[in-house]
């Protein structure tokens, strides 16, 4: 069968010139094999032959390739950037999969079977039947301490993570606290030090969850994973324990005290509003009547 004939039989997606979920089958197999290895060796970065995607490197090409390899026609996809479904890059990626895979999409965390995210873990607890796909810019947690890939690979091989501890310790010596606020390094099952992607450290405790977590770094050609309930420990010191912090405010819209907040400048005087970064979490709370001090009196106003 020639390629042209195969294309005619392509699934009835809107973008029928391309294969289901855009990638060709051989590429998907290559990515799928890497995903299986990454699940078998939690926290280890599996090299994969990342393809050039029709979107720029650094804009989620790793996450998009992982999602494309994992998606089935029955999936419901949610895409968030900074916790929000309506940020432009999240919209763009969601549209890409609507077009190329024809899958259902949602903004409701609970309704999604696959969630692709950049920089956040949703507030709602994820379930065993869900998959969380992270977009990762720099997968190597040691990269900013040691620019050479040859060297960092050796460090992982020898489990030689002293450099990272020295860095964190220097922070404490200098600032009295660990000065890493996001992409806070973790140790997986007592073996690999892993970069959880640039999520705020507030999200780190959620990394131990029931859902499958897959991390895709397109430009850096790495895939890594956390199977459900994998032990994930944020690096710290006995006398300086890890602390998941957030702005010390309730959400101005829904009043939540337990969610990560965005800070907005709302007037020329520099007045501030704090609101949930997870837009679905916030909307769902407002829908059942929760109100913060800055909320509009009627829900219709927040459409």
């Amino acid at each position: 069968m020639t390629q042209i004939e195969q294309d005619k039989n392509a699934p009835d997606t809107v973008m029928s010139d391309y294969n289901f979920a855009y990638l060709d089958e051989q590429t998907k197999r290559m990515i799928r094999r890497a995903i299986l290895k990454s699940l078998a060796i939690p926290g280890y970065q599996v090299p994969f032959a990342s393809r050039e995607m029709p979107m720029p490197y650094g804009w989620g090409t790793g996450g998009v390739q992982v999602s494309a390899a994992v998606l089935t026609p029955d999936d419901t996809l949610k895409v968030i950037d900074q916790g929000a479904d309506d940020t432009t890059n999240a919209v763009s990626i969601r549209r890409f999969f609507e077009k190329t895979a024809g899958v259902a999409v949602t903004e409701a965390t609970a309704e999604a079977s696959i969630i692709q995210t950049r920089h956040r873990i949703p507030e709602a607890e994820l379930r065993e039947d869900q998959v969380l796909v992270y977009q990762v810019p720099i997968p190597e947690p040691l990269r900013f301490l040691e620019p050479s890939e040859v060297e960092t690979r050796k460090m992982h091989e020898l489990e030689e993570y002293g450099l990272m501890h020295v860095k964190l310790y220097e922070d404490i010596a200098q600032h009295g606290a660990i000065a890493t606020a996001y992409a806070y390094p973790v140790k997986v099952e007592g073996r690999y030090v892993m970069d959880p992607s640039p999520i705020p450290k507030f999200d780190n405790p959620k990394l131990e969850m029931a859902a499958i977590q897959l991390f895709g770094a397109g430009r850096e050609q790495r895939i890594y994973a956390l199977p459900p309930h994998t032990q994930v420990v944020s690096l710290d010191f006995e006398d300086y324990p890890f602390e998941a912090s957030k702005a010390d405010h309730p959400c101005g819209l829904c009043g939540a005290e337990d969610s990560y907040l965005d800070e907005l400048i709302v007037d020329d005087e520099g007045g501030r509003l704090f609101m949930c970064s997870d837009t679905d979490y916030c909307a769902a709370r407002q829908a059942v009547g929760h109100r913060g001090s800055d909320a509009s009196p009627t829900l219709e106003g927040v459409a």
């Binding site: 392509a10 699934p11 294969n19 289901f20 979920a21 089958e25 051989q26 998907k28 197999r29 290559m30 799928r32 094999r33 890497a34 995903i35 299986l36 290895k37 990454s38 699940l39 078998a40 060796i41 939690p42 280890y44 599996v46 090299p47 390899a69 994992v70 998606l71 089935t72 026609p73 029955d74 065993e128 690979r153 050796k154 992982h156 091989e157 020898l158 099952e189 073996r191 690999y192 029931a210 499958i212 994973a225 956390l226 199977p227 459900p228 309930h229 994998t230 032990q231």
Partner: protein
Amino acid sequence: MQRPSLTGGFRDAPKDAAFAFRAVMNTMAKPGEINSVTGAEPPAGLSIAAGVVLLTLCDPETPVYLAPRFDLLEVRDWITFHTGAPFVAASAAHFALGTWGELPLGDFPVGSAAYPDRSATLIVEVDDLRSEGATLSGPGIKDSAALSLPDRAAIQQNAALFPRGLDFIFTCGDRLAALPRSTKVS
């Protein structure tokens, strides 16, 4: 009539492979979980699940080792036609297919300390696959899980190599379960 090797592949490869992969991924992520798969009709002697795994994961880039029982012209033809995977000795295999007793466990690549992912995945045909028997714990398992395993000692030895080691996919009829190297068995 068509040669049997030409039939029995995925009807709609992109979609069939997508569903099959999710089943395989879920089993690898959750050791002990048993899932059923469909879409392949491999030649006699090979389970549906083993056929589905081969179609889903193998291609010309993945050399395959066939244990003697499956090293038959019919099976080779089928795998060649549907995946293009070359056949190799155990020491060069990315994937292997066989029954437990026939797979030379010591011969397969287990990866290096720098690249533990360069290891073989073994598709093991078993007569019996149940959520009972050995106790499993580790990544992917909340407290503990159970799975019927052919040989606890060998699997414990493999887990001791972590992060190097082999990964197993057990196939039985249309069902499959997986056991990555990270799972502790007792």
